[in-house]
């Protein structure tokens, strides 16, 4: 039987990373409060079995991806059958390798997600334990899902993880981002043809699907194929009840509906997956919900998006991997195409991208980096600020990152500002008041982009010599200190920098 969310829960339990709570909790703030507190110390996940005002049997899982600063992937590794103590370079390397071995999904005749089918008037989204996350949110939000759509002109199925507001008992409002395939497919194809777009929202199932949905991948690449690759076995899909979309057979809940051309409903404000409040209330795409299929006693998983909570951990663990694949597809010789680190959330506009050490790999390499990297479909929209550093800078270490930024960037030559283009919804916070009514909705929020070249331009004595443990002590001294480290009673791992720098992916 295929791996599903309940297997993941057992994995968390076996790892001592799950707390099951049978006392009544409220979907209104309380579930999220548990997650945020857990996020402060890389704490446990919670399975809530008794939720106020929700029909008995429906449950909620929270903090299931909460990790630590050094190991944001701690629980995602459990979901992938890996040791939760695997370090970050190895996590990236293993995932990147698995992603490259894409596996096509297989279609099955039925699945657990069809155990209960509710149609038409039976549909009531408010019976499911969707949580209200934070003071100031414009409603209850779904932050952990895979929104499934299909290109009308090909067999390409796209899934993505978006912020989705529970608007009423039969309406969701989805907020795709400026750079996403969802936006391109809907606005450029269905809407242009005057057609409704079928949508299915998958909750639960194999975590690999939701994890792949959170990566930014090039057009034409199906997240189902990526999920199959990282799981090592094809995803099992079943035909949706009201459309020809293929959905994960072992999902906890599938919400089926349609988005009609030019139809909009107000959405927001909300905390975003980047840990900021995003507004103002904007017209976004309503999903008319026609059908809900689900397992018996479904478990809704939730993520909170503040600092340290599951949203941040998931981003740090996964999102850069999609960029890596894209950058490599463009032939850029990078060890790691892009990463959110050290800034917690790259989607607010920060990225760190490796270049090989001085000198350039080839004449014009940096220009290629500017042009190709910034032109990539995902990155072109998602990052408003990008920082390029050498590949011997450990971007997981804020000290090293900022050292490069402050020591290698000439204000006269190394900062570039590009003309406005579509940016993330987070940028709406910086809009001038008078622009807010003009620039609302996906793809219409525009902002300039800045790039910082923090790579080494000159070798010493003209350039700045980087001073680190590895460069300021003789090798035999380094080795002596490291070998004696544990004997002297220190518990920290002194070589985690080293493992990052040596990683190949």
């Amino acid at each position: 039987m295929a791996y599903d969310m309940r297997d993941f829960i057992e994995g968390l339990r076996n790892a001592g990373d799950l707390v099951e709570i049978n006392d009544e909790v409220d979907w209104n703030y309380e579930i999220s409060a548990y997650e945020v507190l857990s996020g402060r110390f890389g704490g446990p996940a919670f399975l809530f079995n008794n939720i106020k005002g929700i029909p008995k049997g429906s449950r909620a899982l929270a903090a299931q991806f909460v990790g630590t600063f050094r190991r944001p992937h701690k629980k995602a590794a459990i979901a992938m059958g890996l040791d939760p103590n695997v370090d970050r370079p190895e996590w990236n390397a293993v995932l990147a390798k698995r992603m490259s071995m894409m596996l096509r999904p297989v279609e099955t005749s039925t699945g657990q997600c069809k155990e209960i089918v509710k149609m038409g008037k039976e549909v009531n989204l408010l019976e499911l334990p969707f949580t209200y996350h934070a003071i100031g949110d414009g409603g209850r939000y779904i932050f952990c899902s895979a929104a499934i759509i299909k290109d009308p002109d090909s067999s390409w199925i796209n899934t993505g993880n978006y912020a989705i507001e529970v608007f009423s008992r039969n309406r969701l409002v989805i907020t795709p981002y400026a750079h996403t395939n969802f936006l391109a497919i809907y606005t450029e194809k269905y809407q242009a043809k005057g057609l409704s777009m079928p949508v299915a929202i998958c909750l639960g199932g194999d975590p690999a699907v939701t994890m792949a949905a959170g990566m930014i991948l090039p057009p034409g690449v199906s997240e189902y194929d990526i999920a199959g690759g990282i799981r090592g076995t094809p995803m099992e899909l079943v035909r949706a009840q009201t459309s020809d979309l293929l959905v994960p057979a072992n999902a906890e809940v599938i919400i089926e509906g349609e988005i009609r051309p030019y139809e909009r409903l107000p959405e927001g404000p909300k905390i975003e997956v980047f840990g900021f409040s995003v507004g103002p209330r904007q017209p976004f795409y309503p999903i008319r919900v026609h059908c809900i299929t689900q397992r018996k006693n479904p478990i809704i998983w939730d993520i909170h998006t503040s600092l340290g909570a599951s949203g941040a951990s998931l981003q740090l663990s996964l999102q850069g991997l999609g960029f890596t694949g894209m950058a490599k597809a463009f032939g850029l010789p990078m060890k790691l195409g892009g990463t959110m680190a050290p800034v917690r959330s790259g989607a607010t506009g920060h990225a760190a991208v490796y270049k090989k050490k001085y000198p350039e790999d080839y004449p014009g390499f940096m220009q290629d980096l500017w042009d190709k990297y910034l032109a990539l479909p995902g990155l072109g929209g998602v990052f408003a600020r990008q920082v390029f550093v050498d590949d011997d800078v450990n971007v997981l270490d804020e000290t090293e990152f900022y050292d490069a930024l402050f020591s290698q960037v000439s204000a006269a030559k190394d900062i570039r500002v590009r003309p406005p283009c579509p940016v993330m919804t987070i940028e709406s916070s910086w809009m001038e008041e008078w622009d807010r009514n003009k620039y609302v909705g996906p793809g219409t929020i525009r902002g300039p982009k800045q790039t910082f070249d923090a790579t080494t331009k000159e070798e010493p004595p003209l350039g700045v010599r980087r001073l680190t443990f590895e460069t300021v002590f003789p090798e035999n001294v380094q080795e002596w200190v490291v070998v004696n480290w544990e004997r002297l009673g220190f518990k920290e791992e002194p070589l985690w920098h080293d493992s990052w720098l040596k990683a190949k992916f």
Partner: protein, 86 residues
């Protein structure tokens, strides 16, 4: 202060002239127990009065303010046309 409803600040400010006028206005209200916006016919008050409930005002970026400064009496929740279709 605990409040029963939230109103959108911009919508409330557009109707501030109706405070204490006993003339109903249509605003979107969010019942804090339900966390779903609904259109309602309400009376606006500066101070608590019989049958009224305290409100908070929600700003454009989720900033909540003026909690308990104003009160509303919900006369009628206006059915949404969305509720009827399938």
């Amino acid at each position: 202060m605990e409040v029963t409803y939230w109103l959108y600040k911009d919508e409330f400010e557009a109707h501030i002239g109706f405070v204490d006028k006993k003339e109903p206005v249509e605003l979107e209200v969010m019942d804090q127990a339900e966390k779903v916006w609904k259109k309602a016919k309400v009376l606006l008050f500066q101070k608590s009065s019989e049958g009224s409930s305290a409100v908070g005002l929600l700003g454009p970026f989720g900033e909540l303010g003026d909690e308990g400064k104003y009160h509303i009496k919900v006369l009628e929740i206006i059915p949404s046309p969305l509720d009827d279709d399938e």
